[in-house]
Every structure is written in structure tokens, then in C-alpha cells.
């Protein structure tokens, strides 16, 4: 396989084409506009649909329409745009429509800055939209994973009839790295529920999240819960780096995991036994593996580009067995590996 040098956002867009994405709807916002721009050129060549919508509200609802008709549909945006999509994401989850959503996270709140951030962890993993729903959240840490997660994300969306979100950040979206596109086979799943027009041979299909009778709503909520529990069982993904003998553990995802990986190298040079635990699925979160590691290490340090969000999940995971500390840079500022290690060293004393 030939390696290509590509920007994260472009690799993601190219993967969407190769994954057989039928339709992309989006609205420009830095730092992810390359996705729409790339697809505006490439999608028509494949007779696929690409549209610049009038807003993120419209994009997500176009995705709803296309997904409801049984097509592979996606949208991408960055933080403020994802906030606008929140209602639509809730409807997609409620109506159980498979689709791929991408958030190339920038720092906030409000208009914030266009520099990378991880402040949307809570929004992505704990809701964001209203009501009691979950979606699988994948956190790429490289340009390669920006592509890989598109294939994985579409397949998982189909498997669970649920939206899947790729939660990236401005740095992973903008950086250039080598990427290899593995041949992908799109195993099309049957979508007998799709609204494609009702033939005489079947009852009508309708896509809805409305269950006005509480008795019915509870049944639907229970069905969703069973599905989310199945995700929790089957879709936990993570990566470990030098954890075998680690006495201290960084926990980080996306861009911060890249920084921590360097910090591990620096620490090892100094003879400090540090490892890195990188959640790849932020929902479902790898609670169990972290709990196991808790009995091995002396301290865990959650490194994030926010004021401390994932750290709460790490704390939940270790059940108080080991101290969990937090280090974060804010506002689009990115820590150096030295800075992260220095912080760990202070905590070690």
C-alpha cells in the first residue's frame, strides 16, 4: 500500500469517499473546512451528494433525511457548529439512524479560538443534545486514524443504528502525516426500515423519535439502553504505550496523547517508569482496563486540553484505588512534552 502525505481533514474526507459515503452535508468552520472543500471537488466525481447547507442546523437535518432513507450520510463541523447540531443529534439517536458526525474540536467556550481544544469531551460523551442518549465517540490521534475511524465509524453506525462521532481536534485535523488507505469492503447492511416509498408488499415505514405514551417511551428508552450496554460491552477501544512496568500513568487521547507519548520517552530516558494509556473510544470509556492498571501504578495523570473533563471518567474507573491528577492547557495553548513531564515529576515528590 502506498503511503500518502495528507492533512488530517483531507484524509478523513478521502476515507469518506472510499467508505462509500453517499452524502455529505456541511457548513464552513475553521479548523475543519477542508472536509467540505475536499468533498466538494471529489464527491461529484463519484456521483455522490455534497452540499453546503445554510447552517449546521440544516446540515444535521439533511443528514437525518438521507440516513432515514437508508443512505450513508455524514457531516463535520467544529465546536460551535456541533452545539447547533445538538438537537438534530438527539433526534438521530432517538430515531436510531446510522450516520457519521465529526467534530474537529477547537477551544471555547463561545466563539473561543480556532486553535485546538478538547473542551467538547463532555458534550460528545455525556450528551450534548437533550434526552437520554449515547453515541460511540472515537478519538483519532493521528492522520492515519482520521482515515481509519471513518471506516470504523460508518460500520459501527450501521451495526448499532446509531450516530457515531469522531472527536478530533484542530491539530490532528490540520497536521500533515503519512496515511495508508487499506482496501475497504463496504458490507452493506439491510435497512428494511428506510423510507424509500412504500410498496404494496409491506407496511409503511416511518422514522420518528416520538412516543407520546409514557408506556411506549419507556419501552423505547429501555431498548436504547440495551443497545448502549451492548456498545459498552463490545466497543471499548484503547491503546497502551510502555505500561507493562509503568509506575506512573499518563491518560490522554487525541493530540494530548501524542504529547504524552513524547513525555513517556523523555521520562524513560531519565529512568522514570511512565506509561501512557490512550482511550480510543471515549464512549464507551475503557473503565475496566484502567481499574486493572490502578492496582499497578502509583499515580495517574489525565492530560487534556481543557479544564478537566476526562479526568472524571478516570476517577470513576479507578474507584479511589490510586490518586488521579489532572494537567491541562487552555485556550488553544498546547503543552510541550517537557512541561507535562515536569508536572508529573512535581506530583511524584
Amino acid at each position: 500500500m502506498e503511503a500518502k502525505l495528507m492533512k488530517g481533514n483531507e484524509a478523513l474526507a478521502e476515507a469518506a469517499i472510499q467508505a462509500g459515503c453517499d452524502a455529505y452535508f456541511g457548513y464552513p468552520i475553521t479548523p475543519q473546512s477542508e472536509v467540505l472543500e475536499y468533498l466538494a471537488v471529489e464527491m461529484p466525481k463519484h456521483n455522490r451528494i455534497v452540499m453546503q447547507a445554510e447552517s449546521e442546523v440544516a446540515s444535521i437535518n439533511m443528514v437525518y433525511g438521507a440516513a432515514g432513507a437508508g443512505f450513508r450520510a455524514m457531516t463535520s463541523s467544529s465546536s460551535p457548529g456541533i452545539s447547533l447540531m445538538a438537537e438534530g443529534i438527539s433526534y438521530l439517536a432517538g430515531a436510531e439512524l446510522p450516520c457519521l458526525l465529526v467534530n474537529v474540536n477547537r477551544a471555547g467556550p463561545g466563539l473561543g479560538t480556532i486553535q485546538p481544544g478538547q473542551g467538547d469531551y463532555f458534550q460528545a460523551t455525556k450528551g450534548g443534545g437533550h434526552g437520554d442518549y449515547r453515541m460511540i465517540v472515537l478519538a483519532p490521534a493521528s492522520v492515519q486514524e482520521m482515515a481509519d475511524h471513518v471506516f470504523l465509524g460508518f460500520d459501527l453506525a450501521d451495526k448499532y443504528c446509531n450516530p457515531v462521532m469522531i472527536l478530533s481536534d484542530g491539530a490532528i485535523g490540520q497536521m500533515m502525516e503519512k496515511v495508508v488507505f487499506q482496501p475497504y469492503i463496504h458490507n452493506k447492511v439491510d435497512k428494511p426500515w428506510a423510507t424509500v416509498g412504500k410498496p404494496a408488499s409491506r407496511n409503511r415505514n416511518f422514522i420518528t423519535s416520538l412516543h407520546i405514551r409514557p408506556e411506549d417511551m419507556e419501552v423505547q428508552n429501555q431498548k436504547l439502553l440495551d443497545k448502549y450496554n451492548l456498545m459498552r460491552k463490545q466497543e471499548v477501544r484503547y491503546e497502551e504505550f510502555q505500561t507493562e512496568d509503568a509506575e506512573y500513568l499518563f491518560v490522554a487521547y487525541g493530540l494530548s496523547s501524542r504529547i504524552c507519548q513524547k513525555a513517556v520517552d523523555l521520562a524513560r530516558e531519565k529512568g522514570i517508569k511512565v506509561g501512557l494509556f490512550r482511550p480510543i473510544s471515549l464512549f464507551p470509556f475503557p473503565y475496566q482496563r484502567l481499574e486493572v492498571l490502578a492496582s499497578q501504578v502509583k499515580l495517574m495523570l489525565s492530560v487534556e486540553l481543557n479544564t478537566g473533563q476526562m479526568v472524571e471518567d478516570v476517577q470513576l474507573a479507578v474507584k479511589g484505588k490510586v490518586p488521579v491528577e489532572f494537567y491541562g492547557r487552555l485556550g488553544g495553548m498546547i503543552p510541550t512534552p517537557e512541561e507535562v513531564l515536569l508536572h508529573l515529576e512535581k506530583l511524584m515528590q
Binding site: 445554510e54 437535518n61 439533511m62 437525518y64 424509500v196 412504500k198
Partner: protein
């Protein structure tokens, strides 16, 4: 409305007492379209949502396009439309039907796609999606049911509430100073390049109903031409929240609503010189 002679297979039946009874043959003058599910509707007595549902389903039946039709009904009293229309449907978030319909139609350009939206839905929260869908000339039909209030949430002021009209949120009557004048949505849509056929009809009398049905039929037929959006505003009633009897509410449409919202075609295809009966009034 389809009329056909209902010919029964046998002209006599045997009654339980054993006697042979003759059955008369009747001429069928009315029946519900088969595309309308035979259940009780949840609409208030005299509410025209049910009538408008029936008209759309009659057109779907007459054109024999049940297999190719997808409807979108967002939030409003008609959010349950999929319980009544025997076609594939999508429920949409409040105001977003035009965007959802865009998603459906762009991927299935040869299907018939329509939205069914109230005035709160289309003209308030969803005016943006509507304007852009029409401006792009999405090849869909938008059925805009204007009853001048938010029916579902029990009668609050809508963008189409008449000047001076009392609602629960304009208890002293809508004031232009505070909340502007009612939006003439059909006229607004007709300004947009992508609009192909724009008309305003009503259901306040049998003749008006026939005209509305004709407009719906035309609009569905136009969809195959792929020349742009068809937009049919239908002046409708909300007897419950208007606090009127159904008959009073029909009079109110004719005598009050139609003054603010003149009936008739607003934009007709230039190449095809057809107008719905009644023309511009």
C-alpha cells in the same frame, strides 16, 4: 373524488332466518382514499388538518404513486401524520422539514417528496430552512398549513397571527408595534428563484377544497419536471384555539384571514400556462 359503481358480487343474500333477501346496488359517491389509514384521527372536531391529509392522500392514490412518495411531518398538531398517511414518512424536528426533505430528495431524485408544516413550524423556527430549500429549488412540494396560531402548544401567537388577533401570548390582540405584521409567506417564497409554483388556497368551502386538491395534484405532477419547489399555502382553521365552532372558523378564514392572505396563484410556471381555478382573487 373517485366515483365508481359499487357492484356487489351477488344481488341476494340468505338471512339468518333462512329467507332470501334482495340487496340493492348503490352508486358509490364517496369513500376515503385507500392511502389514508382507516383509524380515528386525534385532531379536534372540525379541524381541517384531517381534510388536508385526505386531499394529499387522494392525490397520491389518483396518481398511483404510493410506492414513490415520502412525506415529512415536523412538530405541530400534524406530527402524527404518519399514523394516518399510508406512505413512508419521516418525523422531523420543529422547523426542519425542508432540510430533512432536502436530504431525502437529493438522494432519491425520482421519488415524490413533500413536507407538511404548520405556520409556527415553517414561518417561525423553520423560516431559514424553508427559504434556503426554496431558493435552491429543491424539487419538493411544501404544504404549508396556515392556521394563524400554534395549535399544538394551545394557541400562542404565530408569525401569521392576524394583526389585532387575540391569542394566549397576545392577550390584547397582536400588536404590529410589538411583534410586526403577519408574514405573507407564500408571497415571500415566490420571490425566490427556485420557486416553481406558489399558490395560496383554502378549505373553507367545497369549491375551495376542490381548488386546493387541484393545486396539490398539479404540484405533485410538476415534481417530475425537476424545475423547482412547489409551495402551497393552505389557509386552515384551529377551532379549538380560535374558540369558535367549526362553521364560525370557516367563516373567519373567508372573512378575516383571506383579507390579510389573498387567495390564488402567486407564481405559476411560465412555460405551462395553467392556473388553478379561481386564479388570483
Amino acid at each position: 373524488m373517485p366515483t365508481e359503481e359499487l357492484l356487489l358480487p351477488e344481488t341476494t343474500v340468505t338471512a339468518s332466518c333462512g329467507a332470501e333477501c334482495a340487496i340493492e346496488t348503490y352508486e358509490e359517491v364517496y369513500r376515503k382514499p385507500a392511502t389514508l389509514v382507516d383509524v380515528n384521527m386525534h385532531y379536534c372536531p372540525g379541524c381541517a388538518h384531517s381534510l388536508i391529509h385526505k386531499l394529499i392522500m387522494e392525490v397520491v392514490e389518483d396518481m398511483d404513486i404510493q410506492e414513490k412518495t415520502i412525506g415529512i411531518a415536523p412538530v405541530g398538531c400534524s406530527v402524527f401524520a404518519y399514523d394516518y398517511m399510508d406512505i413512508d414518512m419521516q418525523e422531523a424536528a420543529h422547523g426542519r422539514a425542508a432540510a430533512v426533505a432536502t436530504g431525502v430528495k437529493r438522494l432519491m431524485p425520482d421519488k415524490y417528496v413533500f413536507t407538511y408544516q404548520g405556520d409556527g413550524d415553517l414561518a417561525a423556527i423553520g423560516i431559514g430552512e424553508t427559504i434556503h430549500a426554496v431558493n435552491r429549488g429543491e424539487n419538493i412540494l411544501i404544504v404549508f398549513v396556515n392556521n394563524a396560531v400554534y395549535g399544538m402548544t394551545s394557541g400562542q401567537m404565530a408569525p401569521t397571527t392576524l394583526n389585532g388577533m387575540k391569542t394566549t401570548t397576545s392577550p390584547n390582540g397582536r400588536s404590529a408595534e410589538l411583534t410586526g405584521l403577519p408574514i405573507k409567506v407564500a408571497e415571500l417564497m415566490a420571490q425566490l428563484g427556485g420557486a416553481y409554483f406558489v399558490t395560496r388556497q383554502t378549505i373553507s368551502s367545497p369549491n375551495a377544497v376542490r381548488r386546493t386538491k387541484k393545486a396539490l395534484l398539479q404540484a405533485f405532477q410538476y415534481q417530475t419536471l425537476k424545475k423547482g419547489t412547489c409551495f402551497i399555502e393552505i389557509l386552515s382553521n384551529c377551532p379549538s384555539n380560535w374558540k369558535m365552532t367549526p362553521i364560525e372558523s370557516m367563516k373567519f378564514i373567508d372573512e378575516e384571514m383571506a383579507k390579510t392572505f389573498p387567495l390564488g396563484d402567486i407564481k405559476v410556471p411560465v412555460t405551462i400556462n395553467t392556473k388553478t381555478e379561481g386564479g388570483i382573487q
